[in-house]
Symmetry: C2
Subunit: 278 residues, 2 copies
């Protein structure tokens, strides 16, 4: 549906504002993994206002897969918390446009699809905690393999709100019995980007019967003495949105995230520490 062969800048843009400007000029149209290291990236969902309250509540009731970082005012394309100089209609590399649950377009600019009542939702992305895992010296298997993270539909049902429902989708990263502890500790500090794992060790209890056949992304090798570790995944809201089959909805294209002005570090939940014995 699109062609990435056209020329891209030779060097990677450095700052979030640079990246967004290149996206606005359609000079960067590919995925954003690894861009602007240290800055958080976000999943995007844009809906007509009449569905916004339900979708917001869906995110709030399903905070592990749908951690809501920012929400725009109706008709205003500016995510004021995450990047007050940005425009969510133009500043991502590529979008997906959905009508009645069907993918109808994959443009680099959704201004033509924008309506005066549109509301944007920016949802935390696991790139933030993956950076923290790497910084701590842990491997992230699919990054080591140079592939997309393996993702699976589970038998865990999200809490339904209005037209939004569906299974929780999870991502999987395998860890050794020692490293799994650090992986939990690190990711638990980032509740706004899916946080701690939802499950360790027994995929069959999630309704996953073959790790080698993910529903999205690519399979990765899991050693006999490793544990598969499962995190709630940002594909969950997209699956719910597709199932809702709204007349019109817009999302980012997979991997083509919104690059924010917020540091990964600022998404650490410093208050979380005080809850342990309360």
């Amino acid at each position: 549906m699109h062609d990435d062969s056209k020329s891209q800048p030779d060097t990677q843009p450095d700052t979030p504002a640079d990246i967004r400007r290149l996206c606005r000029e359609a000079a960067w149209t590919k995925h954003t993994a690894g861009l602007a290291p240290g800055y958080a990236q976000a999943n995007l969902v844009i809906l007509p206002q009449q569905y916004a309250a339900d979708f917001r509540l869906f995110c709030q009731k399903n905070p592990k897969p749908c951690p809501l970082l920012d929400m725009t005012e109706p008709g205003q394309p500016i995510p004021s918390r995450l990047a007050p100089s940005a425009d969510i209609r133009t500043d991502l590399p590529r979008y997906r446009v959905w009508q009645d649950g069907e993918l109808v377009d994959e443009p680099t600019d959704v201004t033509p699809w924008w309506q005066d009542d549109m509301v944007g939702f920016l949802i935390g992305c696991s790139f933030t905690f993956e950076a923290a895992l790497l910084n701590d010296g842990l491997e992230v298997r699919h990054l080591a393999c140079g592939t997309n993270v393996p993702m699976y539909r589970t038998t865990i049902e999200c809490e339904t709100v209005g037209p939004f429902s569906g299974p929780m989708v999870v991502s999987m990263r395998p860890y050794s019995p020692q490293d799994v502890v650090r992986a939990v500790e690190i990711t638990s500090k980032f509740p706004q980007v899916h946080g701690s794992p939802i499950h360790i060790g027994f995929p069959e209890l999630l309704g996953i019967h073959d790790l080698a056949r993910p529903d999205y992304g690519d399979a990765v090798p899991v050693d006999d003495l490793e544990l598969p570790v499962f995190w709630a995944c940002g594909v969950t809201p997209q699956a719910a949105l597709q199932a809702a089959a709204l007349p019109l909805a817009i999302t980012h294209s997979p991997g083509c995230m919104f690059v924010t002005d917020v540091l990964d570090h600022d998404l650490i939940a410093i208050d979380d520490c005080r809850d342990a014995t309360s």
Copy 2:
């Protein structure tokens, strides 16, 4: 070696100071599990000063099994950080006295064994994190069974300092694939009481060949869809001490801990939160 059949107070003492006073009067001579809920308890080691520097360094180099909470001045039996009104010679229910690595006495008062150069070490105890696990609604299997925690010698060697060496001893608590995440999150907040697990899932990698045959304590049932979770254990310094076969050493008797004036809550490591992306 001792007789607990003599009369004990009918009701449980409530405050740390009450408990220590009853111990001092030899009116409480049994284990301290469940006493003074909310207050931290500690393992005790007392050594002649000539071994104190090595033992302190042994604790510092092996902080997961030997988290040092307080240390007394030579000849002074007062743990000023944990309980400035206490006397470590009399304020525990029961002690063990070791000569050349052999257990020679199990008194309720070690004043007769005290020397002018004695140094006391108070080491964090898992009772604190078990209280936090229970407060969060998690089960602690051996408490549910009414037994002692199962403990195992591992093939992990402690870092040796002077005469002190030996294997890390671990305790084991089984958890479901969901609960294991909370168990890591909660215990990781308490680095001064062993902190997060050192291993999840594969006992054979620790040199443990049969969970049903612990080296210390009692076996607990582990379901097929549960993971065995292993924490560094406060028996480690006792094993190192016994192996060192010092001319004289004193410890608490198992389960008969020093009850401190410090709240469990105050052992939460609030600064730990800031390390994740540094």
